[in-house]
Amino acid sequence: MADITSLEDAISGLIRDGDTVAMEGFTHLIPFAAGHQVIRSGKKGLTAIRLTPDLIYDQLIGMNCVGKLIFSWGGNPGVGSLHRFRDAVQQGWPAPLKIEEHSHADLANAYVAGASGLPFAVLRGYAGCDLPKVNPVIKKITCPFTGEELSAVPSLRPDVTVIHAQQADRQGNIMIWGITGVQKEAVLAAKRVIVTVEEVIDEFDARANAVLLPHWVIDAVCLEPGGSYPSYAMGYYERENDFYKSWDSISRDREVFKAWMRRHVLNTNNFFEFTRSVSAAKNKEDLHG
């Protein structure tokens, strides 16, 4: 049953060090506010799952919150590499990062299996691909009817799934629309669920392609307007492409990264202060630029 609560309380109450945590959102509705709160609260040793670990996971990795990453594509979309992710994999900084690497189709199926209460998923995948050589959890399974050999992958059952949604109602039911990615499955596969939302409203005006999730599959709903910045929330604000580009230079150098995180994330109390801090810095640079 969903409590409508503060993000601080939700993260400290529902995520424990060492938990397996999925923070999903496919380009759209990436839960940045929640990710920052994980960093602020100093969570350690998380196994972090995400199809597309991008900036928020780069930050979590660089701030040493993550011990293991389960993923299928790690990059800065439209820009290039994730330097903190690369540094962790290539140089073990700030600490060695275990990786368990899949394809999108595999992880999407693994969430479906998790949501379906099944221990594994079956897909026609990985033929001729080297990933099964380096990821022992990818196995083979034989169709009992045709004899075809397919891939079997273990289901994903995160301890906690965190997503950002456009709206909640006052009971804590939530609604997302636009590109909805794997969020429904990631929520239904999880033991505990935190949802940050743009807005709490009296009643939904359910629209085409809306995904609705009832309050009784959610543990905490936290009002965080703008909480997926710099990604976007359809109907609320657009993606700040500049931020993604600027991240390339912020994240390239360890010290620049640490200073930036200290200034904007650790030295702010919440996501509203973070966005104010980033925006103030940008204006200052603009003035001096």
């Binding site: 594509w73 290539q90 690497e101 897909l123 026609r124 033929a127 001729g128 990933l131 429904k184």
Partner: protein, 258 residues
């Protein structure tokens, strides 16, 4: 031929766009494939159906998307479905005619690497990884690959096979039981390569205006074979170039800062 010439990247995108038949259902990777597919839609193939792995089916973006999940893809799509559904019902379900992929590296059998350069456990360069490519390579009716050709990208041996092309060559795909035909063409900034009908090794079959076969060989990390009748690619038409440049201009304008 257009006045004032064109860049080799423009030639590559135009040549790639021409490969798409009108009405084909095309699963599109971001970057070069997306540019080519949208150019096709703006020129000879207005009814091509573009699918992005974010779940947008029939997306008709006015500007090139920066990411696979740009809002405009959802706003202009015929249908938006979940990521599991796009991979399960549409790709694995056999609904995709053409998978349109990029890569960091390929080998002579058109196997693709987007995972690591060097050793997996201690990589020289860690690349983004597989994304949707392994299963696009498996299940799409056929696969087109577009990337710039060089000794760095066309390599004798891949550090890592992320997505299977023709595996070890010959009848590997049929023997492995893969539903799709695999790569049918690789479009580069220098020319077009196609797999040999028997060996499935990539053969240079077209060379773009301004390049020579020697350029292609020099930019390939294995002894590149050349088709008996290697033809010169038709240069970009004025209409193609205009469309491409308008598309790029619109996109640059929309994505200020990029």
């Amino acid at each position: 031929m257009a006045e004032g010439g064109w860049s080799s990247d423009e030639m590559m995108t135009v040549a790639a766009a021409r490969m798409l038949k009108n009405g084909a259902v095309c699963f599109v990777g971001i970057g070069l494939p997306s540019a080519a597919a949208n150019l096709a839609r703006a020129t000879h193939a207005p009814d091509v159906v573009l699918i992005y792995e974010s779940g947008t089916i029939g997306a008709k973006p006015y500007v090139l998307p920066l990411s696979i999940g740009d809002g405009e893809l959802a706003e202009t799509a015929d249908i938006v479905v979940s990521t599991p559904e796009i991979f399960r019902y549409w790709l694995q379900g056999g609904r995709v005619d053409i998978g349109f992929l990029g890569a960091a590296q390929l080998d002579r059998f058109c196997n693709l690497n987007t995972t690591v350069i060097g050793d997996y456990a201690g990589p020289k360069v860690r690349l983004p990884g597989a994304g949707g490519a392994p299963e696009i390579a498996t299940s799409a009716g056929e696969v087109l690959v577009v990337l710039r050709q060089s000794q760095r990208t066309f390599v004798d041996e891949l550090s890592f096979v992320t997505s299977a092309g023709h595996g070890s060559g010959g009848n590997w795909r049929a023997e492995t039981g893969l539903p799709g035909m695999g790569p049918t063409a690789v479009i580069t900034d220098i020319g077009i390569l196609r797999p040999d009908a028997e060996s499935r090794e990539l053969i240079l079959t077209e060379i773009h205006p301004g390049f020579t076969v020697a350029d292609a060989k020099k930019s390939t990390g294995w002894p590149l074979q050349v088709a008996e009748f290697c033809v010169e690619t038709l240069p970009p038409s004025a209409a193609e170039l205009t469309s491409l440049r308008e598309l790029n201009k619109r996109s640059a304008h929309a994505h200020v800062g990029y």
